[in-house]
Subunit: 270 residues, 2 copies
Amino acid sequence: MTRIAAVQLSPVVGDLAGNTARAEAVLREVLAAGAEIVVLPELTTSGYVFTDEAEARGLAIDAEDPLLARWSSLLGDAVLVVGFAELGRGGRLYNSAAVLDRSGTRAVYRKVHLWDLEKRVFTPGSDLPAVVETPYGRLGVMVCFDLEFPEWTRIAALRGADLLAVPANWPVQPRPDGGDVPEVQIAAATARLNHMAVLVADRQGPERGVTWAGGTHVVGADGGIVDRVGPGDGVAWADLDLPASRDKRQGELVDLLGDRRPDLYGPLLA
Amino acid sequence: MTRIAAVQLSPVVGDLAGNTARAEAVLREVLAAGAEIVVLPELTTSGYVFTDEAEARGLAIDAEDPLLARWSSLLGDAVLVVGFAELGRGGRLYNSAAVLDRSGTRAVYRKVHLWDLEKRVFTPGSDLPAVVETPYGRLGVMVCFDLEFPEWTRIAALRGADLLAVPANWPVQPRPDGGDVPEVQIAAATARLNHMAVLVADRQGPERGVTWAGGTHVVGADGGIVDRVGPGDGVAWADLDLPASRDKRQGELVDLLGDRRPDLYGPLLA
């Protein structure tokens, strides 16, 4: 079993130093508590509600920033996924997630499906969801709104992800069914359809007129919610057998991936 | 607004005449109550748990069977979707759904993603989900396990379905989250991800050692459950504005279909 921590934070837009310090403090805490996989929210370092592209640019760091190397050095045997505003080599900005271990940066995934006003700040990524081999299993990574494209989550499953780690910033949305954060339902269905554990590290609280939902949770490969944070900062914990996600059978002759009909799925490319 | 009825029944395997009579009785009832779109479960005519292929063959009807013409003649302005065991021209058996209106049979969809032991009885279909233009909006049709392939539901949305009508036979499955039929969560997420209403007409009760879940329900395009039947036979009703499903916007710059990245989805065909 792998001990997994999904961290819910409330970054302050513009406060790079403070956000970094708060994230590092909770990282140290969960590592001390035995976390082997840690996921922090989307745009943990910068905050989210930028006034304009220039503000975002001032808060972006490049993928070789010493911050990531420092966090790598804290990890021991653990793996960290963390969202950050990335300044690319050509000067473009990306809404990215880094996968770090003691060896350094294992992958940087750039959010492909940008949400709403992000389109005015960031360039969309063009690579598939990251799938990183770790001692605990294969870690799939995408960012927030990417989770709402079933094509994208399916591709992560097809590429072998055992746990899909999703740094997110979910704004509060209308809730047709009452109490729950509606995107949690999407994460749970994604887990069940793909027999793949899903983890969302969300943020909470207000920021420049937006209220963040605080939807941090972990779903098992069977679609059942294992833990969630609720209101306030906090950590959702789960002990999961990640390679168990690889058994896609369900009933004697059912295989959730093997029963696909890719010969008929051409319209998805249109 | 369109008045929609999702009918939950308990067919008896082998009792073609009785199943047909019971289905016709409830069809007349819901039509009298003002239903404009009626959906009956998967394999309404035959029942589900066949002893072998020969039993299924004895219960299959072809798509020109007078039964379908008789049901068409009852419909007035309404549209009916009903699951049946189909005997194809070449002698093959299909797990099919017919879409009927007063003009006759508008479409026959053959289940593509066969579940478990169905593979020993039926031939999988090879056509895309049916999408039928009606006076109420565009009706997408697939059968039961098809709903658990996000590629398939997405294709229905891309082809313009406003309401996805799903005749189903859901066996009772483990429920990681306690009370609810887990596939309901999948239907709700499917609706929300595609901004497309989803209706499931399920069966209930025991049949040769299988217990059926009784998960009949209607989900609005926002992912909220509008009505459900619960235990026993019954009808879930909903008044829906079907063409409203076509507005895929969510936020100023968001479009749930327009934000797709089909240029990157090639791995879905592998």
